[in-house]
Symmetry: C2
Subunit: 302 residues, 2 copies
Amino acid sequence: MIDVCLLGTGGMMPLPYRYLTSLMTRIEGHQLLIDCGEGTQIAAKKAGWSTYPVDVICFTHYHADHISGLPGFLLSMGNADRTEPLTLIGPKGLERVVSALRVIAPELPFEIRFRELTEKRETIDLGFVTLEAFRVNHNITCYGYSLVLRRAGKFDADRAKELGLPVQFWGRLQKGETVEYEGAVYTSDMVMGAERRGIKLTYCTDTRPSSGVSAAAAGADLFICEGMYGEREKDKKAREYKHMTMYDAAKLAKDAGAGELWLTHYSPSMNRPGDYIDAVQEIFPQAVCGKDGMSTTLRFRD
Amino acid sequence: MIDVCLLGTGGMMPLPYRYLTSLMTRIEGHQLLIDCGEGTQIAAKKAGWSTYPVDVICFTHYHADHISGLPGFLLSMGNADRTEPLTLIGPKGLERVVSALRVIAPELPFEIRFRELTEKRETIDLGFVTLEAFRVNHNITCYGYSLVLRRAGKFDADRAKELGLPVQFWGRLQKGETVEYEGAVYTSDMVMGAERRGIKLTYCTDTRPSSGVSAAAAGADLFICEGMYGEREKDKKAREYKHMTMYDAAKLAKDAGAGELWLTHYSPSMNRPGDYIDAVQEIFPQAVCGKDGMSTTLRFRD
């Protein structure tokens, strides 16, 4: 399962009661954060999450509203005496940008590992989850991310018994290994059903809509997506600054066949995103307006 | 008069409901900010202050909790289409630190002017107020600041009449100028009384207590001072990390003959600063625990 908390829903600048857009997730005891603007550490504490166990921080891009909170976040981790290495993932330039910002956080008790993205699509196995990065269309290089938890097929105990394989070997087959026993070879697929539906969470902000985005979000249980403007007349502004309206996001969610859509990254000029949700739901009924601290747990279905 | 707002009262890291220590002031339409940690722009908005009209930002030192909010603050000013130059004042290294942080705020529609402090005490005439910077004793170079509004003596109209000086020259004498009229020379002191008591506001955090600090705060109407710890057993920690307890601050306020003391820059470990205020007031009765958004207006006395 994936615990999900949308720490903030603002774009451009943090406001009282609307922190900058950032997503905290927990998967098997590991925490992964996407984006870290000014105030993200406050929003995390407010929502009841610790900064300490974060193993990975992904950045969509290096506009200040997505990374300005990093120095403080790192220092908070350091003040909690964290010693485990921290992995940072983001577009090219990551190490240069982070090194510059660390002018005010030069000494940390843990190692920082950098993973810079260079391809249009990259899949990274983080051990506890698979990260799929996909490049989007903003005015600087920007990526969206999917977190994918795969789920093996069901183990068929009756079939294993029929094969005459003693029970102590079953666990290895369940893990996908091959077993040799009394001269015979047993492969995983002999006792395991087809791979079951897993969990997919997609996060995407700061882009124009495109078929690439909906393809990357295809089948996501939860799609968290920028809906910078709700006012129809702001469509031009969205195009100009390479952002998306709420309606763009709804169309993407529909094309992606997403389970649910949470809108986020609201313009500071939009006081009440909820004013536009009826029109958004006409395009994609499972759309909701994200709110600071909104949480859910995505579970395997059965 | 000086409008004063203590935007935050936290030290080390921002917390929900406790922003980092920062002081906003307004003097004759100009705003001057001291320190700008992560979240300061949010705290300002929450307290009803705009970032736009800030003409000067002073930094005590470059630990992250005093400057990490600068890139976002600059961008908010830029987004509001500010074009007037902004003056930054702080210890040596100011331009280097700010330039590094501006990796995420490279383009701004206004000029930034730097004034780096190098002496133990420096007095800077900002036009709308006199700034007195004084070096304190922290583990890196750190300054405290006083804002001083001087007040001329009373104009003696009867004396001006006695001297036979026509009324159209009075204004120049009130401004301290010298006037020649019909062969006679009239100096300001001939019609102006002794300089009256002005307004003084002193801000000091991140230091060990010293006679230098109380001398710098001498006669301050309001002394805003670090009281990092209230627990008696934290005195050792305060010494080790070069901070002050609430009792240190109270002694300084007493020695300075300050009008009032606002405590601030609380350790994140101290949940309820108010628990210690009775003991603090035994040392200095006009001590209060600063709270986020606490405001006052300092006026000339008559």
